[in-house]
């Protein structure tokens, strides 16, 4: 056992480091991530907030594009992509190494993760050659940003239950309906969307997958203000949006299969846990007074912190096990599936407990709150979202139970009936 890179990995890490040192600003280890970016671990978050003013958002976006351009020029923007589409042609372990190194720098890559991590690979697998040639290079450089139009108000965990209508009209399709939880829809140039093309078919059979230009008439994105006050997501309305059949990806009725390609890549896109963890509460406990002195000296506080430590480091070492598998060219085991499940609840427990330690001042949630810059107040709100985004705790437990442990699937009433005959509570 050792934690050393192989010679090739070390060589790659050196290259990455020298690129980052020359081009980006290092962040101090304990500084909280900026508000609104605390969710970069979930590929669907990490977009800038929009409620605090469009100018600031535009500056942030421009900075991110500039950074992405540099990354692309250096070849690091899409490490897993093949060279023919402008990628690095690298291995998963190289992708992990890059992410580890970039994590220490103050840069924004969140805007491009969905495109490069999920939508690009979907186009590579299912798209037409001319589309790949036209779109993939600009996805890498950040010139064009993509969003993923999947979830709907009545289809969250049960994604295949979407109702967005796609009706064929000659060589065109007409889209009508609503998408929700779409990160970056308000600044994205393009989106990939799955819609119901045949409501009389079985639920998973009546779907078709498309890409759309977000400037197409009839598309309107509205930010959703979350309990944190930030707006990382949008609801997107489609009113008689006409797109040519050439924008279909995969065959008519194959939308679920194509979506699975996107979703499988989502699981690989999950990065490092956000910066609210044992380390932060341990530091805070050295500053906060409780009934018998400093919190760090209080026995109950120490017992609690130990629990978070073993969860936090347990996840880190689990990642090392996965990296070992990747480094040997193997596919990591299912152990990665536990990461978000543990991280989100831990973050909620840590932040809630930290507010308790602060006692009355825990109530204060404004920028001048001196204790770790509102880190725990923000975490208190953000963690509630994190337990839901990217698979709820309950869906993740089901995935572990069924796919890892091999327990029976839930009994389902939606597999045998045509979609339009399924109970929905609405019809």
């Amino acid at each position: 056992m050792d934690f050393n890179d192989t010679p090739q990995e070390a060589e790659f890490r050196k290259k990455v480091r020298s690129f980052l040192e020359a081009n980006a600003e290092k962040r101090s280890t304990l500084a909280a991530k900026p508000k609104g970016d605390s969710g970069s671990s979930i590929s669907s978050a990490g977009a800038p907030e929009t409620v605090k003013g469009e100018d600031a958002a535009k500056v942030a976006l421009d900075n991110a594009k500039e950074w992405q351009r540099k990354k692309a020029d250096a070849g690091f923007a899409a490490i897993l992509w093949p060279k023919e589409f402008g990628g690095y042609g690298g291995t998963p372990i190289e992708q992990v190494i890059y992410a580890q190194e970039e994590h220490d720098y103050f840069v924004h890559s969140g805007y491009f993760e969905i495109g490069i991590g999920m939508l690009g690979p979907t186009m590579m697998a299912w798209g037409k050659d001319e589309d790949k040639k036209r779109f993939l290079p600009k996805m890498i450089t950040g010139e064009e940003i993509w969003c993923q139009l999947f979830s709907e108000p009545s289809a969250g965990s049960d994604l295949a239950g979407i109702r967005m209508k796609a009706e064929k009209d000659g060589d065109e399709w007409v889209l009508n309906g609503q998408k929700v939880w779409t990160s970056g829809a308000h600044f994205a140039d393009y989106g990939m969307i799955v819609a119901r093309s045949d409501p009389t078919a079985l639920k998973h059979k009546g779907l078709t997958y498309f890409y759309v230009d977000m400037k197409t008439p009839g598309i309107e994105a509205k930010p959703i203000k979350q309990i944190s006050g930030s707006a990382n997501f949008n609801e997107v309305f489609f009113n008689d949006v006409r797109i040519p059949d050439s924008q279909r990806i995969g065959a008519e009725g194959d939308g679920w299969k194509v979506s699975l390609t996107t979703l499988m890549n989502e699981r690989l896109a999950v990065g490092d846990p956000p910066g609210l963890d044992f380390d932060q509460i341990f530091e805070a406990s050295k500053e906060i007074e409780v009934e018998d002195g400093l919190a760090v000296k209080n026995s109950e506080v120490r017992q609690k912190m130990a629990d978070w430590y073993i969860q936090s480091r347990g996840l880190q070492y689990t990642k090392y096990r996965s990296m070992t598998a990747l480094s040997k060219g193997q596919t990591p085991g299912p152990e990665l599936s536990i990461s978000k499940l543990v991280t989100a609840s831990k973050m909620q427990d840590v932040s809630s407990y930290a507010l308790d330690l602060m006692d009355m001042s825990g109530m204060v949630h404004q920028d001048q709150n001196p204790i770790l810059k509102n880190l725990f107040q923000n975490g208190y709100f953000f963690s509630a979202a994190m337990r839901i985004a990217g698979g709820t705790d309950e869906v993740l437990r089901n995935i572990i139970a069924e796919r890892v442990l091999g327990l029976p699937q839930d009994e389902r009433s939606d597999k045998k009936l045509p979609f339009n005959e399924l109970p929905s509570g609405k019809n």
Partner: protein
């Protein structure tokens, strides 16, 4: 990044697993559980000794195989899976490690070959009363080469040939007055009376000492420091035993949930149980990863060991306690019968989480070591 056991170590694991499936089935475990006269399975002990397991991490010059601590971790996990009723942990994780770390060359030559061959068994006597052992409750005294006092509980004391005894070597009782002494249990003045434990396959006893002859192990007055270090080493090994037992608890819960039908379906199809088993899995995976980190620290003599060991210990204790508890719950009524095996794991998990200090204690160790290092 190579955070995994080697192919050779995995081969050792497979062989050990197969051997124990064969030689240490549940009937064999129960034969110790249900027989008050037997403290361990002597046949199994001599077989695993012949295989060299007892000498795994003891240097060749002292009669061992001279393999590393990682190999010992591999074996520990298998012993935990099989609920092996042997004094392996007392003799190998603790007694042998004390000798390896603190024995003089003469002491190593005198004791280790017999421990490596399994022909003699060693253990360690620290606790004297309820609660955490600490200076004000260690009354055993060493004076003029003789030990006087009473120790309990002493794991595997009845089976042991040699016992390391923690005793105050001056009239004080503070963190600098404790020393360690080796005694021969057959010497005059040693009186042993057995104690019932929550897991009779892992027995304990009271050891009364009256003017018992002894030889000192390690420096005078450095007892607590030596104990901390050896308990850290043992904690990693125990964590592998615990992960092994926890994994089997989950496997058996799962198996039963697929066999048992209620309300017209396999009970393993109910989300309440699926999610419970998912939680068991999560705790076990975290514990396994923490144990691996402990194994790395142990095998490389890293100064991370105190933190890595405490993390492994806490994580594994919590995972095994949870898995064995919920295994009973998933079995329902039969889960708390003597006939079903759930209680074997329930007993073992709790006993293992106490025998080198409770979870509470190890959490405190973890945080205080993090404070000392101030490394977060």
């Amino acid at each position: 990044m190579n955070f995994d056991f080697s192919d050779d170590q995995k081969l050792l694991r497979d062989q050990a697993r197969k051997f124990l499936q064969d030689k240490c089935d549940r009937k064999s475990v129960r034969s110790i559980l249900e027989d008050n006269q037997k403290n361990y399975n002597a046949d199994l002990w001599s077989q695993i000794s012949e295989l060299g397991w007892t000498g795994t991490a003891i240097p060749e010059e002292y009669g061992g195989l001279g393999l590393g601590m990682l190999e010992l971790c591999v074996i520990a996990e298998e012993l935990g899976r099989a609920l092996a009723p042997t004094p392996f942990s007392s003799s190998i994780y603790i007694f042998a490690e004390f000798l390896k770390s603190y024995g003089t060359d003469e002491q190593k030559k005198k004791y280790l070959p017999h421990i490596a061959s399994g022909e003699k068994i060693g253990t360690f006597a620290l606790s004297e009363t309820n609660g955490k052992p600490k200076p004000n409750n260690i009354k055993t005294q060493h004076a003029s080469g003789k030990l006087n006092g009473s120790k309990n509980p002493v794991s595997d004391g009845e089976s042991a040939d040699y016992i390391i005894v923690a005793a105050n070597s001056d009239s004080n009782s503070n963190y600098n007055s404790l020393s360690l002494f080796i005694i021969d249990r057959n010497d005059t003045g040693v009186n042993i009376s057995s104690l019932d434990t929550i897991d009779p396959t892992r027995p304990a006893c009271t050891v009364d000492l009256k003017n018992v002859a002894s030889e000192r192990l390690g420096d005078e007055g450095s007892g607590w420091e030596m104990i901390d270090n050896i308990f850290n080493r043992a904690a990693v090994l125990f964590s592998f035993e615990q992960v092994g037992g926890a994994q089997v608890s989950l496997d058996e819960a799962k198996k039963y949930s697929l066999e048992r039908f209620a309300f017209g379906k396999q009970i393993g199809a109910f989300q309440a149980l699926k999610h419970k088993m998912a939680d068991m899995y999560v705790k076990i995976e975290l514990a396994r990863s923490n144990a691996y980190y402990g194994a790395w620290a142990l095998s490389t003599d890293s100064n991370e060991l105190p933190i890595a060991a405490a993390g492994a210990r806490v994580s594994a204790s919590e995972a095994y306690n949870y898995a064995s508890q919920e295994n009973i719950q998933i079995h329902g009524g039969v889960g708390f019968t003597w006939e079903y095996d759930c209680h074997l794991f329930y007993r073992r998990s709790k006993l293992l989480s106490l025998n080198i200090g409770s979870i509470r204690q190890w959490k405190e160790n973890l945080i205080s070591n993090l404070e000392k290092r101030n490394i977060v």
